[in-house]
Symmetry: C2
Subunit: 211 residues, 2 copies
Amino acid sequence: MENRYTDKLKETLNSYHELSDSSLEILLQNCEISSHTAETYISRENKPDSSEYFLLEGILHSCHYSESGENITTGFYLPGTVITPHFARTIGGNSIYGLQFLTAGVAGSIPVTILDELRNRIEDIRIFGKKVVEEELTRSVRQNLSFRADSAKERLINLRSEYPNLENMVPHTAIASFLGITPVSFSRLRNTLAKKQHNFLSNDKRNPPLK
Amino acid sequence: MENRYTDKLKETLNSYHELSDSSLEILLQNCEISSHTAETYISRENKPDSSEYFLLEGILHSCHYSESGENITTGFYLPGTVITPHFARTIGGNSIYGLQFLTAGVAGSIPVTILDELRNRIEDIRIFGKKVVEEELTRSVRQNLSFRADSAKERLINLRSEYPNLENMVPHTAIASFLGITPVSFSRLRNTLAKKQHNFLSNDKRNPPLK
């Protein structure tokens, strides 16, 4: 395993819970690192999947093909995060959605059976797993609420706060799809928010325009 | 505490993980049981909440007031279930949505600080907590996917499978809101599905119509 990815993987794991050197070592020994080009799937809808994943570089989305053949984005993952745990995104061992790179990237994977065994046996890996599940539930509940209850404008503001700079990194069709609006509406919404931001800055007395 | 609710509470807790008699006893000692009429809130959006809840009788929904003052249903809870854990439905100790009874009902509550202390100290209560969080994440991920990716018809079919008979128990406005459609579209969708069911039964050769 290349050193730069070893360090990135350790950093990712430690960001959920500070792990001992021996726990990090055993996790790394069981991890496989792989590089992917944009549009590559690491898991496919309705196909067997038996791994947990760590995103080290690039951006992934979870996605689903609608009846009309449209690829709908249901979530985003940024580098340095653990992908939604296996038990929550599979039924009978098959993935309920696809996991696809939106940019070139690097992922770590570990067989779910091995990680489960380590979580049962080693205390700090158990706590790491608990933290991952709790963070994921918090994220899922908030995103679900925002998608159901907020206006498109509020949803975009939430997205920008949760995934800063995403609009400069992934196709806008994926973001529009995640927000549940058309690409044309998304483009209009961006313009509206940009104008508001411009007016806000122009009217801000603390920062008068240069003469 | 009335005996019938003690039994119902034990049954609810045991349905997530079989608990020892002493663990059940200590949980019951720290639980408060209260009866509520329909439309009562046990938790209000943006207000402090410091409890975990167990739904023993009746049906609850999580809900949010939209900008236009509409009460949007974001989830349902059936009797015998633990409500979404406190950490996932609060920010800074304030609830991110309301929890309101749609029917008359009974809930148990326990201070989150006490349950957290018990989870840290007692092994089977720790596993109970883990199971609750895992079930809730699975439910949240699947509902999020269905709401984003499925047609209204598929969403209604999923709802009927997850909450059987719900349409006979709660206001249809709440169900339409949860499905993200108008009450009129909901009524039409029910009629379409009822007709299909009728045609399916009439055409089913295994069950020929009586002569």
